[in-house]
Symmetry: C2
Subunit: 286 residues, 2 copies
Amino acid sequence: MKAGMIGLGAMGAPMARNLAKHDRLATVWNRTEATAIRLAEELGVERAATPSRLAEAADIALICVSADADMLEVVHSLLPGLRPGAIVIDLSTVSCATAREAARLIRSQDANFLDAPVTGGVEGAINGTLAIMVGGAADTLEKARPVLEALGRRIVHMGDTGMGQAAKAVNQVMCAGINEAVTEALGFGARLGLDMPKLIEILAGGAAGNWFLEKRGLTMIQGQFKPGFKLALHQKDLKICQTMADALNLRLKVAEMALEDYAELLKLGHGDEDISTLYRLKRPAS
Amino acid sequence: MKAGMIGLGAMGAPMARNLAKHDRLATVWNRTEATAIRLAEELGVERAATPSRLAEAADIALICVSADADMLEVVHSLLPGLRPGAIVIDLSTVSCATAREAARLIRSQDANFLDAPVTGGVEGAINGTLAIMVGGAADTLEKARPVLEALGRRIVHMGDTGMGQAAKAVNQVMCAGINEAVTEALGFGARLGLDMPKLIEILAGGAAGNWFLEKRGLTMIQGQFKPGFKLALHQKDLKICQTMADALNLRLKVAEMALEDYAELLKLGHGDEDISTLYRLKRPAS
């Protein structure tokens, strides 16, 4: 079973490389054509002229794009080439409602859809160690599992269509809160005059230990904010979360705090930096 | 080199057991006598009648109590028995100012003081895997290291007297923020109707992964809040942090949010529960 990869950005490109490494990649497509040409050549696979041609050439079409509208546009444009029984898997982060709309479109062609957003950062995409949260039919996931195993280490079926995206929304809220926690605490440490690398080492080994501190602690105190995960994208995700929470009449206080801080950072022009750029607001002024 | 252990509570008792296991424990003392009698018998060591007698009988006096006033009271009462060149190590969490006051008192007897607060929870104390943040003279730490190695896996010299407590303050702020992040996100997940054990499994493997989620996620969704780390103690620590931040003219927004939530939980009578009891405020009402 071979896959086609649509969307060859910071996450999609390393995913395509891992699929190729496991001999699971047939073809690629990207909105910016030059990127697709380069990667197809690097990996020795076909470059599809359109998403529809990609769907014709692969058993599974994987999508990894940035926004809800992009994902639906790709789905619409691959429909003509989609074979009955084929599988479309969206690895992007979009709302549950968008996932359900995509599933409806795919089902109209007698094909199958899974929402399968991922977590683990660019590192996870490169190393093939992503965690993948899957919504949709369990038997479709079992068919697709050999392909997903090229991308991630933990692949968990969360429930019906949209439940993968629900799990991802929870993940994004937790990441926002951890970003607030880690940057505020390290800013405090800097003001207390602590040796910051030593501080990060010791905190990582205790009850405050977390992925974000381990992966982004040293870079943030050095003022390096290369993504990683772009602030502007996390803001987009958190707005989706807030809409979902509003519909449940639920307040997400930590996510609200992050959205306020992110808005300030975006105004300052830091939207393309890693989310750890939040440290800019928390570190000592003096 | 043998140690005496003062304070045999949730953290101190397992620490004493690990010292005994490494043949580093000579004697114990506890404010509630019955606890000391029981543990001395269990471990086959002396029970000191007073902190002063404990100081006479040990090369290193270790202190693990709950509050600043308790720690200073213990230091005052062990001074008469303290030998020149002896070492007193405070493993409690107190303010930097209290640590400096204790150091002044100990130095008046030509003895040496280290502030050495720990992190890693009750699990860390039981397994001897605590992270220990040390302030004070580096050569004193090197002398004491064989004893501390019975308690912890990472022992880091953070700087002069008080810098161990400064690092611990940063740790407590980070833990407060992570508690807010994890409980808010899991409350959101419960409202979205997600399978919670699956959700915790998948989140723990990605960019939101953290110690607190791994150790307290399942228990909190089951409504089990056995400490662990008592809410009332974390509140005490966060108040110390806030005082320290005020002195630096620094706002700790996440810690403030936690203090507001903790105040509400204390009013509801949950102060003796684990800090994950914060989930009570975040989980679905319906």
